[in-house]
């Protein structure tokens, strides 16, 4: 009877397309909104991902997320280095500094000051120049989006396109001269600010005068030492907070989830997608069943049991669900592909595809459930009524 079920469904083209459109819309909205949400949340800890070398991040115990800087005394670096199991420990400056552009405007930048000796914590990928060039006088490395966007030079001709920064160009950071010695590729930041790398000692000269300037201590564990165990040792020995890379990512994400309205806003959009999809698909599927009620009655009279009819309806729901899911997810992926060079945060891991699949399954089951109820309660004697 599967064949009959599928032909019944496909035969009513208007409703068939209507149900698929409903599910496609729901699937697209759910996938796209969750992907943008995930993209945004990923950006919150983009710097932690980019700084791939350290096993452990050491910070003030009151730090809530990566941009919540509570500087440490420089001496804390030496205390951390003294903890058993620490292979290496380097300072990291992270702060928001103003860059003055050649047109006179100011742009806040995310500045990282790397350990002068090792340059640990540098950008993961260089587009122009080399990371070692940071050792040149006043050298800074700028991320490619910042260089081509907010830090770009004014157009040479009126109405023309701004010119991206290149190696050799000069910018002004907090009234200090800085020479671009490299362009790098990093993850976009949550606030989409340009990212600038320099050495720790130079960053502290750029930064406004403060008693403490050390933002984080980055730690590498000795071979055989578990990062989690090392965190515990550092906390016990120094009284500072120490988190593994993964822990610090979750700390950051949790902060944004807890203290910003972002999850609620996206959650509402996802819920709307779910509800609208359920309403459209459910209503159309129900109408389809109601219009075929006499046919279902005839099948019942001819000996089709409730189990057979239930399987037929579930198969119909499964088919439209599969097609709608494929189209919706495909459209969302296409959307992400087309917007990959834009400012839009979009990340589509398999977990989102699985969650959307579950949502679409629930939508289809809800849509089918209303119809199943009607068909199960249907008296086959309906076929003898005119």
């Amino acid at each position: 009877m599967n064949f009959v079920a599928l032909k019944m469904l496909i035969g009513d083209k208007a409703k068939y397309i209507g149900i698929i459109v409903g599910i496609t819309f729901a699937s697209l909205l759910i996938t796209q909104q969750m992907a943008i949400f995930t993209g945004l949340m990923t950006r919150t800890y983009g710097a932690i991902t980019d700084l791939g070398q350290p096993d452990v991040w050491v910070m003030d115990p009151k730090v809530q997320f990566i941009d919540d800087i509570k500087p440490l005394q420089d001496t804390e670096l030496y205390r951390v280095r003294g903890v058993e199991g620490v292979d290496w420990a380097v300072p990291l400056y992270k702060g928001l500094l103003k860059a003055r552009l050649s047109n006179g405007n100011f742009q806040t930048c995310n500045v990282f000051g790397l350990d002068d000796a090792t340059l640990i914590g540098g950008p993961p990928e260089m587009v122009e120049g080399r990371i070692e060039d940071l050792r040149r006088a006043d050298g800074v490395i700028v991320d490619e989006y910042g260089a081509a966007g907010r830090l770009a030079k004014p157009a040479a001709t009126p109405g023309g396109k701004p010119e991206p920064l290149h190696v050799g160009d000069t910018i002004e950071l907090n009234d200090h001269r800085a020479i671009v010695v490299g362009i790098c590729r990093v993850q976009r930041t949550f606030q989409s600010q340009p990212v600038i790398y320099t050495t720790y000692s130079r960053a502290t000269t750029y930064a406004p005068r403060e008693r403490k300037l050390l933002s984080f201590v980055l730690v590498g564990a000795k071979a055989g030492v578990e990062p989690l165990e090392l965190c515990q040792r550092i906390e016990n020995a120094t009284g500072l907070a120490a988190q593994t890379r993964e822990e610090f990512k979750w700390t950051t994400v949790t902060y944004f989830m807890k203290y910003t309205g972002i999850p609620i806003n996206f959650g509402i959009a996802v819920l709307l997608g779910f509800l609208v999809g359920t309403a459209i698909a459910g209503q159309t599927f129900y109408n389809f069943t109601i219009e075929n009620l006499k046919q279902f009655g005839a099948l019942k009279a001819m000996g089709a049991g409730n189990g057979t009819l239930l399987r037929m309806i579930l198969l119909q729901a499964l088919l439209v669900g599969l097609i709608g899911y494929g189209l919706g997810v495909g459209a969302a992926a296409m959307f992400g592909l087309l917007s990959r060079t834009s400012e839009l945060a979009f990340r589509l891991p398999w977990q989102i595809l699985a969650l959307t699949a579950v949502s679409v399954t629930v939508i289809c089951m809800l849509a089918a459930l209303i119809s199943i109820r009607k068909v199960v309660k249907l008296e086959p004697a309906i076929v003898f009524k005119g």
Partner: protein, 259 residues
């Protein structure tokens, strides 16, 4: 006539009440009826007299409020729902007033439906469906959709569907009421030709007096009761010849009033 072996349907004291209390409607008021195998029995009577309710009870798609209806010795009302549904699928063929063909299936696919319900493979079901369509004279339209067929052709497809699984009982509800007079006569001729068999019974509900002469027996109903059962003297000539106006009414060669 021995009721157990030669009688396809035996109804004794069948009543059916719809609703409860003051809104209750008594559709059947103690119906006694026997339908012998190999015969075509028509249930006739005015609208609302209980004809459709009675064939619904006979076919096992409605439970009687009281009384008993045996189909080839089986009390369908006493069977569990699943068994009853399965029995209907195996042993009963249906021809509906509005054909009830699935609009998105071709004629052959529609005819194959009872076999698919019984679990036959699609290819086998379609092969037998094509054979059934040949029997009703429609082999060339087997790939047509119902919307592409005339009313008479659709009813032929419905007859092929009712017979494709070789049921022991065929019930037809007003099979000619949606057809013009000529087409109705042709459909009834076809039903007599292909459906009547020694081991099969046909029960047809109709109020179309122009088709009465096709019956072996005519049971008249009124107000929920069988008021008379008449053997149809015109049947023998009608089965082989075109009906005439004079043969439209049954001649009651033997009439039995219900109690």
């Amino acid at each position: 006539m021995s009721p157990d072996h030669e009688t396809a349907v035996v109804c004794r004291g069948v009543t059916k009440v719809y609703g409860e209390g003051t809104s209750a409607v008594q559709a059947l008021r103690g119906v006694d009826l026997e339908v012998p195998s190999g015969e075509l029995v028509m249930l006739v009577g005015p609208s609302g007299c209980g004809k459709t309710t009675l064939i619904s009870v006979i076919a096992g798609i409605l439970d009687p409020s009281s009384g008993q209806c045996l189909v080839f010795g089986q009390d369908l009302a006493a069977m569990p729902q699943r068994h009853r549904t399965a029995y209907r699928g195996r042993s009963i063929g249906f021809v509906f007033q509005a054909y009830n063909l699935l609009p998105s299936l071709t004629a052959a696919e529609n005819v194959a439906v009872p076999l698919l319900i019984l679990g036959h493979r699609r290819a086998e079901a379609l092969r037998r469906a094509h054979a059934a369509l040949e029997r009703v004279g429609m082999p060339e339209r087997s790939h047509a959709l119902p919307a592409q067929l005339s009313g008479g052709q659709q009813q032929r497809v419905a007859i092929a569907r009712a017979l494709v699984h070789d049921p022991k009982l065929v019930v037809c509800d007003e099979p000619t009421s949606a057809l013009d007079a000529d087409t109705g006569q042709r459909v009834m001729t076809l039903l007599r030709e292909v459906a009547v068999a020694p081991d099969r019974a046909l029960v047809i509900v109709t109020h179309d007096s122009r088709t009465f002469h096709f019956a072996d027996r005519i049971a008249r109903m009124d107000d929920g009761r069988i008021v008379s059962v008449a053997e149809n003297a015109a049947e023998s000539s009608a089965s082989s010849a075109e009906p005439s106006a004079s043969s439209a009414e049954p001649s009651a060669s033997s009439t039995r009033s219900s109690p």
